[in-house]
């Protein structure tokens, strides 16, 4: 098998285990956009510390792994203007649609949630369109 597929599968299993620990331990759905969004707009005030600790660990663990040389530092693929546009779309879209890859994709599909499955099909479709557009217009490396 392609080494990227193996790394993807192993990394994916870790992501799923993280979501399982968070669900069975704290009773919460591990959705990245929801965890951050609740801090940003104040709707997650009741469990702010828990959200902040989760996000801090999410930032620190990969940073340490890169620091000790266990993983490669990745490079951005788009210029600042595109990154700003894309960031705004991701921030607004995930709050409007109430989830992202982790919430709808991982936690939603695994409980056969109709909303999670539909959202995932939609963002994979528009994601594919965006890659075509970005490549056609030379917005990527």
């Amino acid at each position: 098998m392609n080494p990227d597929w193996i790394a993807g599968l192993i990394g994916g299993l870790m992501i799923g285990c993280a979501a399982a620990v968070y669900l069975l331990g704290n009773g919460r759905i591990m959705g990245a956009s929801g965890l951050l969004g609740g801090l940003v707009d104040g709707t997650g005030r009741s469990n702010m510390v828990e959200r902040a600790v989760f996000i801090a660990a999410l930032i620190v663990a990969p940073a340490l792994l890169v620091l000790i040389g266990a993983a490669e530092r990745s490079a951005p693929i788009a210029g600042s203007g595109i990154l700003v546009l894309a960031g705004l779309l991701v921030g607004f879209g995930t709050r409007l649609g109430n989830g992202c890859t982790s919430g709808h994709g991982v936690c939603g599909i695994s409980r056969f949630s109709r909303r999670g499955i539909v959202a995932t099909l939609v963002y994979l479709f528009t994601g594919g369109i965006a890659v075509i557009v970005a490549r056609a217009l030379g917005w990527t490396a």
Binding site: D4, L24, G27, L83, V84, R115, G127
Partner: protein, 138 residues
């Protein structure tokens, strides 16, 4: 206190998994999303790997009333497919495809990615705030 330990453990495991899977590498992710072009199916392996433990976790959750820390487990998911879900997912996908970054990996890259990743993160937070303002008026 136990809740915070679990949150830290889950966050660290999530970040490590995102890094190892390649989700934090925008160039790879764009190739995984290039479904109409020269598609690399690695994203399917990541998603499948992530869904497997959660299939088990939801089955365990169905037989329990509360989580380990005593919190109630999430209620059954809402079923309503509405315009907000479709439009939100569509906008998110466009941003994900353009940048190769979704919210989890965007946060996981903050500690090592440098300025471009900070710019993306700041714009993502701004987008969330914009939604909050728009949502209060709508």
């Amino acid at each position: 206190m136990m809740r915070l330990v679990i949150a830290a453990l889950a966050g660290a495991l999530f970040g490590t998994g995102l890094l190892i899977s390649g989700m934090t590498d925008p160039a790879k992710v764009q190739g995984w999303l290039d479904v109409f072009g020269n598609w690399d199916p690695t994203l399917g392996f990541v998603l499948t790997g992530a869904i497997l433990p959660m299939l088990v976790a939801w089955r365990v959750a169905a037989r329990r009333r509360t989580a380990l820390t005593g919190t109630e487990l999430p209620p059954p998911p809402p079923q309503k497919i509405d315009g907000r879900l479709i439009a939100g997912a569509a906008l998110f996908g466009l941003g994900w495809g353009l940048s190769g970054l979704c919210p989890g990996p965007a946060m996981a890259s903050l500690g090592f990615g440098g300025v471009p990743f900070l710019i993306f993160f700041a714009a993502m937070v701004a987008g969330m705030l914009l939604f909050s303002v728009w949502n209060r008026r709508a």
